[in-house]
């Protein structure tokens, strides 16, 4: 399963935002299947909900 990486909420957020900090992880991401946990889905939904 080395071809799949699970991203935490911070990194997913950096990528979605287009934040420069995501670039540091480029070599760990390109060529890999990216996965996120249900917890990250929940944290993103909660963030969106609290932001209205």
């Amino acid at each position: 399963m080395a071809d799949t990486v699970v991203l935490d909420t911070d990194l997913v957020s950096f990528i979605m935002k287009g934040h420069g900090r995501a670039g540091k992880y480029r070599r760990h991401l390109e060529g890999k299947t990216l996965a996120i946990s249900f917890m990250t889905v929940g944290e993103l939904f909660k963030g969106a909900y609290l932001a209205g």
Binding site: M1, D3, T4, V6, T9, D10, S13, I15, M16, K17, G18, H19, A22, G23, R26, L29, E30, G31, K32, T33, L34, A35, E43, F45, K46, G47, A48, Y49, L50, A51
Partner: protein
């Protein structure tokens, strides 16, 4: 407004006055486990989302349904025995039982059994059509409009980390 999937109810509630023997009509939702099908001693346990599991006694006539619903989320309807001092439910005499699905606006209807199937990441990726990332730029900034500005983004990160710390 985000609507999250409905959680199984702990106790839907007593629906009437106590019946004979101090039992109260009760409907409860949770996961059905630990069934014992011995004649004249049929019982199982329902594990609600919060609180301790509760012993459920059932008649032989309900045995096939209890067996079919084991490990699933169910709604149990029956009469509960209540501890006189604490008010806690000690057991339920089951009169009816039915399986539950989790429904929510904007979500697919999900079978409770799907939770227990434990597909691999490779299986999930195949089902969802996820391909390996070719270049970071293919996804970079795809959700930038979710935050109004940099300060809004930092507030989101800080709040998420804070909630994690509270849960730890």
């Amino acid at each position: 407004m985000i609507e999250t999937p409905r959680q199984p109810a702990l106790v839907v509630g007593a629906k009437g006055p106590a019946t004979g023997g101090g039992r109260i009509p009760l409907t409860i939702e949770g996961r059905l486990l630990m069934a014992d099908f011995r004649h004249d001693g049929e019982r199982c346990r329902i594990h609600p989302p919060a609180g301790p599991p509760i012993v459920c006694e059932f008649d032989e006539a309900l045995g096939d349904r209890v067996y079919a619903y084991l490990r699933r989320l169910v709604r149990v309807i029956g009469e509960a025995a209540q501890e006189p001092t604490s008010g806690q439910i000690s057991s339920i005499r089951v009169t009816d039982i039915e399986p539950l699905s989790i429904d929510a606006k904007g979500f697919e209807t999900v079978s409770a059994e799907a939770f227990w199937q434990e597909p691999s990441l490779a299986q999930l990726a195949a089902e969802q059509g996820v391909q390996p990332l070719r270049r970071l730029e293919d996804v970079w900034g795809r959700g930038a409009d979710l935050w109004t500005d940099e300060a809004d983004f930092e507030v989101f990160l800080a709040a998420t980390r804070s909630r994690r710390a509270e849960d730890a």
